[in-house]
């Protein structure tokens, strides 16, 4: 009987019911989006950093990896010192730089270049071909497109340009050995990777035996924080950054989005609760005569309260389910906006659907909405029957 009464009540005011469901759906969608935003960046960045199995990054003292032009001097000795620790399984030095691909016209295509240890590197995923050997290089799709080259081509690259002599410096002939996707670079960014010794040689004396960072893979079972502290004590000229520290630093830089997510999420929760609370209150006020009659014919007060709260629950449930679909669509759209940040790694997402967080948020909205109808329901079911019937009859 309760269900029949609930259906009758909700279908009796179709416009109101549809508007309420739409309102709850938009609130739920916004809440879901904000939950996805608040945790998405962190999880996405964590996944990016740990995807290649390196738990620590060693950068020049006081810098973040590639945050400045500073480099680690005596890279070979530094790497050897790091390998002394039994807790370190692998050390992969990386040098960042720029290479130029001279054209016949005299102009050039420039690109980011990473000098890596091809056997240990964690910066790119090979899509076709093979890792670069001596006098070899791998390009990403953006650079292949910009240079009009393909895997297997041989070309000349240069490490710099001398404006006085009007010629490219340190030219080298290399062969494109493979096509790669660079994990930490933006999709549209032109990039190449080559053995670190080759890139050091391209940079001349200023780059001799230097590295921008070293990626460290801890031995199985090793305490990463202990390794970080050991590096800090052993090598005072470098800073070791763990994945957790890097995530905390990125979070601090992007704290705006987390706080925006918290504020808008709270507002959407309040709006959803207010909407259902208002609707249930008005609905109860309109139907106090009906409730008095039900009470007069022997229907228990609890049954009436249950009926009213069930109406709120149906509104919240329908709105939340609609909001879930709406939220996923809007999150996808909002994500496409934010991932167009210049220079953002292509695998970073701002909105990440995490079932547990999403269900918790929607359940919170549902429970809060249903609870918002509890007081009007109790009040509606507790009015003096005789007085209400007399007033309604008048």
């Amino acid at each position: 009987m309760i269900l029949r009464l609930v259906v009758a009540s909700l279908t009796g005011h179709r416009a109101r019911t549809l508007l309420a469901i739409a309102g709850v759906a938009v609130s739920a969608a916004l809440l879901l989006d904000m939950v996805m935003l608040s945790s998405g960046m962190r999880e996405s960045f964590r996944s990016l950093l740990t995807s290649r199995g390196f738990e620590l990054r060693v950068a020049p003292k006081g810098t973040l990896p590639f945050d400045t032009e500073a480099t680690i001097a005596d890279a070979t000795a530094t790497a050897a010192a790091l390998r002394e620790s039994a807790d370190i399984a692998a050390v992969s030095p990386v040098l960042g730089g720029t290479i130029h691909l001279p054209r016949a016209s005299g102009s050039a295509t420039s690109s980011v270049a990473l000098g890596v240890d091809p056997e240990l590197q964690g910066d790119y995923v090979l899509l076709s071909g093979r890792d670069p050997g001596p006098a070899e290089i791998v390009f990403n799709d953006a650079l292949l497109a910009a240079s009009g080259r393909q895997v297997g081509d041989t070309l000349t690259i240069a490490g710099g340009y001398d404006p006085q002599l009007r010629r490219f410096t340190s030219p080298r002939v290399v062969r494109i050995a493979g096509r790669a996707r660079f994990v930490y670079l933006a999709r549209e960014q032109r990039a190449a990777a080559m053995p670190i010794a080759a890139l050091q040689a391209l940079g001349g004396a200023a780059r001799r035996d230097r590295a921008s960072l070293m990626m460290i893979r801890a031995a199985p079972g090793a305490d990463v924080e202990a390794v970080r502290l050991w590096i800090a004590a052993r090598l005072p000229k470098v800073t070791a950054i763990s994945t957790a520290t890097a995530i905390a630093q990125v979070e601090e830089r992007l704290s705006y989005f987390r706080q925006l997510a918290f504020i808008l999420g709270s507002v959407s929760l309040v709006v959803g609760v207010l909407l259902v609370g208002t609707l249930v209150t008005v609905s109860v006020n309109e139907r106090i005569g009906e409730f008095a009659v039900l009470r007069a014919i022997g229907i228990a007060r609890v049954t009436i309260i249950a009926q009213i709260m069930l109406e709120g629950a149906v509104l919240m449930l329908a709105g939340s389910l609609l909001g879930l679909a709406l939220g996923l669509v809007t999150a996808r759209y909002l994500n496409t906006i934010l991932v167009s940040f210049p220079g953002l790694p292509q695998s970073i997402d701002f909105f990440l659907f995490q079932p547990r967080a999403a269900w918790t948020a929607l359940a919170l909205l549902g429970v809060a909405g249903v609870a918002a109808g509890a007081w009007p329901a109790w009040r509606g079911a507790s009015l003096p029957i005789a007085r209400v019937l007399r007033e309604e009859a008048a």
């Binding site: 416009a15 109101r16 508007l19 309420a20 739409a22 309102g23 938009v26 609130s27 969608a29 916004l30 989006d33 020049p60 003292k61 006081g62 810098t63 973040l64 400045t68 032009e69 500073a70 001097a73 005299g106 340009y161 001398d162 404006p163 009007r166 005072p236 000229k237 800073t239 520290t245 905390a248 630093q249 601090e252 830089r253 992007l254 704290s255 705006y256 925006l260 808008l264 959407s268 709006v271 207010l274 909407l275 208002t278 609707l279 008005v282 006020n285 309109e286 809007t330 759209y333 909002l334 906006i337 934010l338 167009s340 940040f341 210049p342």
Partner: protein, 298 residues
């Protein structure tokens, strides 16, 4: 030119002043700008530098303090005296980076960093707007390997991040507007529905449908107008809180939220239009119904 340098206080044993755990974004590195226009050395022959107020506060430095600037840990560096403390600029691109800024003489920075006779860029001032294109063409033609950029082009390029944030805000704004429109429609529908007995009484006493609809629409407009005024006041208060909070967090004079006349006008027009539409829809529903039905007698 701009490069990373480190600084140590000279009066104490050499040590990095920045604690990476406490200042994770600066991490002992300062972004130093050398300027050819900076003055010459002070009377005691020590060269002078200017530091920003964030660095001064965090490192406990003040004008007149002697410090050593070094490019790499372990190097000898140069002793300098702090001659000025500058305010951070209200530049959005600097907000999230939280870097310290040190301004040095160009030649000194080149020497400290072993950068040679090099600079990252020249800022060129032209005479009048018309001469910009000629200057760009002349510079580009003068030496291959140099590229001249108009300041406005650089501004567009560097503001790409904020264009993305702006698009994101607009999208969130649209969702919020849709949510508030539905909420407003619901509330006005309920409010008008509550008046069904009054409307029935008015209709039975001979008041026309048009008059009732008009009166309800006017009532909805007035409610919306007052609601909007309250909302504007609330929004203005929110901007004060937001600006105060984020200016303190990021230590910048940048204003993060603004209530402009255009924003107020947009909110006012949108709310009133929504209010009138919602009021009219609800009023028409009531006016079309038979008065006795509104009274529950049919």
């Amino acid at each position: 030119m701009g490069v990373g340098v480190r600084w140590v206080r000279r009066s104490r044993p050499l040590r990095p002043l920045c604690n990476p755990a406490r200042y994770p974004l600066a991490i002992g590195a300062a972004f130093a700008f050398a300027t050819a226009a900076a003055g010459q050395g002070s009377a005691d022959s020590m060269r002078t530098i200017a530091i920003d107020s964030r660095l001064a506060a965090d490192a406990g430095l003040k004008i007149g303090d002697a410090v050593v600037v070094i490019a790499q840990p372990g190097e000898r560096g140069d002793s300098v005296r702090i001659a000025a403390i500058t305010s951070p600029s209200a530049d959005p691109s600097e907000v999230s980076r939280q870097e310290y800024r040190v301004r040095m003489h160009l030649d000194q920075l080149q020497r400290v960093t072993a950068y040679g006779d090099r600079v990252h860029r020249f800022a060129v001032q032209t005479r009048g707007g018309a001469s910009v294109d000629r200057a760009v063409a002349a510079i580009d033609a003068a030496a291959f390997g140099f590229v001249a950029h108009r300041s406005k082009d650089v501004a567009v390029e560097t503001s790409a991040t904020f264009a993305v944030v702006s698009r994101f805000h607009r999208a969130i704004g649209v969702i919020t507007i849709v949510a508030s429109a539905i909420f407003l429609l619901c509330i006005l529908l309920l409010k008008v529905d509550e008046r069904r007995r009054d409307v029935a009484a008015l209709r039975l006493s001979g008041i026309s449908r048009a008059t009732i609809v008009k009166s309800i629409v006017i009532e909805a407009s007035v409610i919306t107008l007052f609601g909007t005024a309250f909302g504007v006041a609330l929004g203005w208060l929110a901007t004060l809180i937001v600006n105060s909070h984020y200016q303190a967090v990021y230590r910048t004079p940048l204003r993060f939220a603004l209530v402009t006349p255009q924003t107020i006008a947009f909110a006012l027009v949108l709310s009133i239009v929504l209010g009138i539409v919602a009021g009219a829809l609800a009023a028409l529903r009531l006016a079309r119904a038979h008065p006795l039905r509104l009274l529950g007698r049919r």
